[in-house]
Amino acid sequence: MSGHSNWSEWVYIGVVVAILVWVGAEAWNVERIIDHVPENAEVIKVTGQQWFWTFEHADGTIEKGELHVKKGIPYKFEVTSKDVIHSFNIPDYLVLMDAVPGRINTVWFVPVDAGQFPIQCREFCGLIHYNMRGTLYVEDGLDR
């Protein structure tokens, strides 16, 4: 039955593999570009707990539920949790990193646009997971 030639299937698999190799290479490259944290990034410690976010700036200032940052400055978040797994997410800036108790995960970004952006939790953490929200305020760097 499989006596007839299967050349069409081989070509098809060749095309599929070529597309997948392209996907893998592109993804690897973009990840490489965004993974590199600038040396002068300001550190902000992010702590998730049921059911709110706490932020500690490099100078020791603490903010709860809201985070003020300056436009154009790179920030590195060190994310952890006090109880269960949460996930720190600023969807407009594609910042997403799990907050796991017992470990510190790192993600960085540069707030390029001024304004207010939602912060939410992206890992199920119980009763108020759906409302574990905050606000990111990006200010023009002139007045703070």
């Binding site: 039955m1 597309i19 392209w22 996907v23 592109e26 993804a27 490259n29 973009v30 570009i33 965004i34 590199h36 600038p38 790179p74 407009d92 800036y93 594609l94 910042v95 970004f109 540069v110 390029v112």
Partner: protein, 89 residues
């Protein structure tokens, strides 16, 4: 055949442009920092383009097959397995 050529053209453009970007990325002033949103969404839209092109090929083929080989098609002929009365595996 035309579909395949079109697909390859789209794919080559999608492959070449990022390479050009990487090569010329060294002198990216004054934006010194990578904007992760731009990088990630760009990748997403490039992949969506490929996915939809492939999807159009696959679903187009499927729809054509459904139409061409339906039993009510005037061009439909019995398959060579119908005469024997059994599905030969």
């Amino acid at each position: 055949m035309k579909n395949i050529i079109g697909l390859f053209m789209v794919l080559s453009i999608l492959v070449i442009l990022p390479i050009i970007q990487i090569v010329f990325a060294a002198g990216d002033e004054p934006e010194k920092y990578v904007d992760r949103r731009v990088e990630i969404w760009n990748l997403f839209f490039r992949m969506m383009t490929v996915a939809f092109v492939v999807g159009a090929v696959v679903s187009g083929t499927l729809i054509w097959l459904i139409w061409r080989f339906r039993e009510s098609n005037p061009k439909a002929t019995p398959t060579k397995y119908e005469g024997t009365g059994e599905l030969d595996k």
